[in-house]
């Protein structure tokens, strides 16, 4: 028999009627035996027994009891909330903060990693992963291979597609940095997207100069017309014709909405790809995603794909052994490193929630002291311990669920604000994000956190409050728990735990901040704000000469690698019998002038690169490594790089100071060898310039100059460095917020525990003061206890952090995981916070009047 909630009234009526029938039948039988009707009725009632008690048992047998008790507990809890609004408001506020940050993080995670994309067949999307015979991952297939795979899996898959995003500069009709996604021809069909204007790609348009615009792309790029079909736009040297516009509701499979889509074959032309792809576009590789036909098994499709992939010819590389399909119905897939990072982040946010729960456990423990009389009464009236614990847990869970509701609201606001902020930064690079939705997953998560928190911080006080105490009956003291050590130890343990958690988060924030500081304060060795990467589509010597003649431009040069834009390539250099790994850069004549470096010896002469002169300029660090103590000028060494087949001998003609050429976080180059590069050599795609005049005017002048032939987009090395440290800044901000919250909660917890302890131990303090102790002594003692408590937490957390940072140091080279200043500052900060938190309670303790305290009996 199921629980018919909606038929409850009917069930109760039936029950009453049934029992009434029984009594009447018995009464009639008794009448027949000779009793009077009144007597019979009375006898029948007596014989039946306590109706209400049996009805209650019937309800229990039907399963209603649990729900009745829950309803009663809820009503009681709500009454309690109304009676102590301040206390519960504080608890709800703490939980709103803690659950709010957790829910905000989960909203982002769920939107990108859990929620299926809003495209048709999202649950049947799989990304293809290729592995060689030894299990190593092989990345990507070229277009011809993708066609072969498509044919092989013709029956099993609806289609295969690639989608690769890149940012490119659109020159006309408007000058705008845009996000472009290059896709296969049947991308739109597989995504279930129909254009609102025009059409999408046909099967053979993957290599053609046509493009489909997104809704906002059409608005931004062609603001003057509602129908841009047939119009053209220019990216770099490529002119694309608009053939279609997608509706605003189409998102595709990327979390960032592009301005336009182009065919996969056009990617190399639009994007400045690596040298090897420029020469062999047929070999350009893409990541592939497939849509499985409904009802087809994954294994069968994998077998079909693997069979074909194994036959691909890839000279000089390991052949494909097998192809695996990995389901990916959400925008992003967390795997490998990503999963570890996600877990760490959940852990960090979870720590804040734990700290909040510890705080609340302390608060509820303190409040429980005022309820011992009420609970004792209930226990003596026959309530079982589990029943009372259930009631207390209902109270704490309701408070927690209120906090969860508040947390949802806070999370939603925080996420909206965060997305707006992110869009304002990314909009400059042409990236528009898919809106983040707060769906049922988020609510479920918040509710689960609330329920878990409610049990977590409510269980301990409930257990403490209902624990039987045999000696309590013998004593009659106003301050309950007197004589019982356990509650105080419990409270101190909670405080230590909170302190430990705060230490972990504070250290994380401190380390990240130090990294950012260090990077910002790095001396690059040159003025990074004046060194510009010109980012020309076609850096011909003619255009470079013209740029060099502009007022405000001091020098131009070409280089294989512009400083701060990426690591330099490696090679091995042999000198004096020793072979070392060094980094090198092929640079043109004006490179040192662009950086403003003084060359000891000489730089490169005109024509040296063209004549393949084997001369080199090295950095000071390289010189002291290869020829310590001696002048390197005139020395020779052999160099073998990945590009040359035989080692070549070079002569050192100049020495330059050390600079930062690779990523900004790496610090100054440990070694740098500069080789001469010709002005029109194809290897050097990167043009640089030194701008000494007004930066804005000069960059505008450069753009105008380039607009006539090629495009260009000058960006300073300083901007590039700032862009690269953005992830650290974001991480540092988040860590700072979490650490601040944890510290605040710990401080609040300390304050409440100290205040309560003063009240509880008034008599004891009074005795001390009466016996001659000075108020300062009382303050010192209280502070000492608090610091000892916090000290234990710090003592446990610091070694754990040290151990963890050792493990992390091997994986994370960019952040310095051990920093003396941080490890010293954080405990100090905690000590100061403890002192502040205990200040007011300590003063109250010192001002206890011994006489009145002792008089309390």
């Amino acid at each position: 028999m199921k629980l018919p909630f909606f038929k409850r009234a009917a069930v109760e009526r039936d029950m009453a009627e049934e029992m009434e029938f029984h009594r009447e039948a018995r009464a009639r039988d008794l009448e027949r035996q000779g009793l009077s009707p009144a007597e019979a009725a009375r006898q029948a009632r007596l014989e039946f027994g306590s109706t209400e008690a049996y009805r209650e048992e019937c309800r229990a047998a039907l399963g209603y009891r649990i729900w009745d008790e829950l309803a009663a507990d809820t009503r009681f809890a709500l009454r309690g909330l109304r009676q102590h609004p301040g206390f519960h408001a504080a608890a709800v506020f703490i939980l709103t903060l803690a659950i709010g940050v957790n829910t905000a993080f989960f909203t982002l995670y769920s939107n990108y990693f859990l929620r299926p994309m809003e495209v048709s067949g999202a649950d049947r999307q799989y990304s293809l992963a290729a592995y060689d015979a030894s299990g190593g991952r092989i990345s990507g297939f070229n277009l011809a291979e993708i066609d072969a795979l498509r044919q092989a899996a013709h029956g099993e898959m609806e289609g295969l597609f690639t989608a690769h995003g890149l940012t490119a500069l659109v020159h006309s009709p408007v000058h705008r940095q845009s996000l472009v996604i290059s896709v296969s021809a049947d991308y739109f069909r597989l995504m279930g997207g129909t254009p609102r204007l025009g059409r999408t790609f046909t099967a053979d348009e993957e290599n053609q100069s046509v493009t489909v615009l997104s809704h906002h792309g059409a608005q931004r790029l062609f603001p003057d017309t509602p129908d841009p079909i047939g119009r053209t736009l220019r990216i770099q040297t490529v002119t694309l014709t608009v053939i279609g516009v997608m509706p605003a509701t189409f998102t595709g499979n990327s979390p960032a909405l592009p301005d336009l889509w182009i065919g996969a074959g056009m990617r190399g032309l639009v994007h400045r790809t690596e040298k090897v792809f420029r020469n062999n576009p047929a070999f350009e590789r893409f990541d592939v995603t497939g849509v499985l036909a409904p009802g087809i098994s994954r294994e069968r499709t994998e077998a079909a794909l693997s069979a074909v992939a194994a036959r691909f010819e890839r000279p000089g590389e390991k052949p494909v052994a097998r192809v695996e399909l990995k389901q990916q119905s959400s925008f992003l897939a967390a795997e490998g490193e990503g999963r570890v990072v996600a877990l760490l982040l959940f852990g960090a946010f979870g720590i804040v929630l734990l700290v909040a729960c510890a705080n609340l456990a302390n608060l509820f423990l303190a409040r429980a002291a005022s309820r011992t009389h009420e609970i004792a009464m209930r226990l003596s009236l026959g309530a079982s311990r589990s029943r009372i614990i259930r009631q207390l847990l209902t109270e704490s869970t309701i408070t927690a669920l209120l906090g969860a509701a508040g947390g949802c609201i806070l999370a939603r606001a925080a996420v909206q604000w965060g997305m707006t902020w992110a869009e304002s930064i990314m909009g400059a690079h042409g990236v528009v994000l898919v809106p983040v939705a707060t769906d049922w997953r988020v609510f479920l998560y918040a509710a689960s956190l609330g329920a878990a928190a409610g049990v977590a911080f409510g269980l301990m006080p409930a257990l403490e409050l209902t624990a039987p105490n045999l000696t309590q009956s013998a004593k009659r003291e106003a301050s309950s728990f007197a004589g019982r050590v356990r509650p105080r130890r419990m409270r101190n343990l909670l405080i230590s735990g909170q302190a430990a958690a705060s230490v972990v988060l504070l250290l994380l924030g401190a380390l990240l901040t130090r990294t950012i500081q260090r990077v910002a304060a790095t001396d690059y060795g040159y003025d990074a704000a004046r060194v510009f990467a010109l980012r020309l589509d076609d850096p011909s010597p003619a255009i470079l000469r013209e740029i060099g003649q502009l007022p405000g431009v001091a020098a131009v040069a070409k280089a294989g690698s512009v400083p701060l834009w990426g690591d330099l390539p490696r090679a091995s250099a042999t000198a004096g019998g020793h072979t070392r790994e060094i980094r090198y850069n092929s640079v043109s004549q004006g490179y040192f002038e662009v950086l403003g470096l003084r060359v000891e010896g000489r730089g490169f002469k005109a024509g040296e690169a063209e004549s393949h002169a084997r001369v080199a300029v090295i950095s000071r660090a390289t010189a002291s490594k290869m020829w310590p103590g001696a002048s390197p000028i005139g020395q020779t060494f052999t160099l073998k790089s990945g590009e040359t087949t035989t080692p070549e001998q070079y002569e050192v003609v100049g020495v330059v100071p050390d600079v930062v050429s690779g990523f900004p976080t790496r610090g100054k180059d440990t070694s740098a060898v500069y080789l001469p590069a010709a002005e029109n050599s194809p290897e050097q795609a990167s043009a640089m310039a030194r701008i000494t005049g007004n930066i804005r005017e000069t960059t505008e002048a450069i753009r105008q100059l380039c607009a006539r032939s090629t495009g260009c987009d000058p960006m300073s090395s300083a901007e590039a460095a700032a862009f690269q440290t953005t992830p650290f800044r974001i991480a540092g901000t988040i860590a700072g917020i979490l650490a601040g919250l944890a510290l605040l909660l710990t401080g609040a917890g300390l304050y409440s525990v100290s205040s309560f302890s003063v009240i509880q131990r008034r008599r004891e303090i009074g005795v001390h003061l009466a016996l001659g102790a000075r108020p300062a002594w009382v303050v010192r003692r209280m502070l000492g206890e608090a610091l000892r408590c916090v000290g234990w937490g710090v003592a446990v957390a610091l070694p754990l952090c040290l151990a963890f940072s050792r493990i992390a140091a091997s994986n994370v080279t960019v952040i310095q995981t051990f920093d003396t200043a941080s490890y010293l500052a954080v405990p100090l900060l905690l000590a100061v916070a403890t002192a502040i938190a205990c200040a007011v309670p300590a003063r109250r303790a010192a001002s206890v009047d011994p006489a009145s305290a002792l008089r309390e009996e």
């Binding site: 028999m1 029938f21 039946f48 027994g49 008690a53 049996y54 039907l62």
Partner: protein
């Protein structure tokens, strides 16, 4: 003199009484008294929680009908599961009784 029933045996008695034919609560009470020869004391009201419990467990089923004197009453009858359960319980009870008798009748 009527003995009060052992705790836990009420369910067995109810199942046996209902197995003799569909009956309402009062009728079950009368039947138990009848088949025990008036030697078992049953608390009248305690019958109903047991009836509800047995119904929740699926051993008996209930239906509203009309009693002998045209009053509305709820009639209980045994389900298939109930029949099986009655058999197994009876067997267990007989085993228990013979074991106890053997143990208590042992001579020193």
């Amino acid at each position: 003199m009527p003995a009060s029933i052992l705790p836990g045996t009420l369910d067995l008695l109810i199942l046996k009484a209902v197995s003799l034919g569909p009956q309402h609560g009062y009728g079950v009470l009368l039947r138990i008294e009848q088949i025990s020869g008036g030697n078992l004391l049953i608390e009248q009201g305690a019958l109903y929680p047991a009836l509800y419990r047995l119904e929740t467990q699926g051993l008996i089923s209930s239906e509203w009908g009309v009693s002998e004197n045209n009053r509305r009453a709820k009639f209980y009858s045994l389900t298939k599961t109930g029949i099986k359960k009655l058999d197994s319980e009876l067997r267990q009870w007989n085993d228990l009784v013979s074991a106890m008798s053997l143990a208590l009748g042992a001579r020193a």
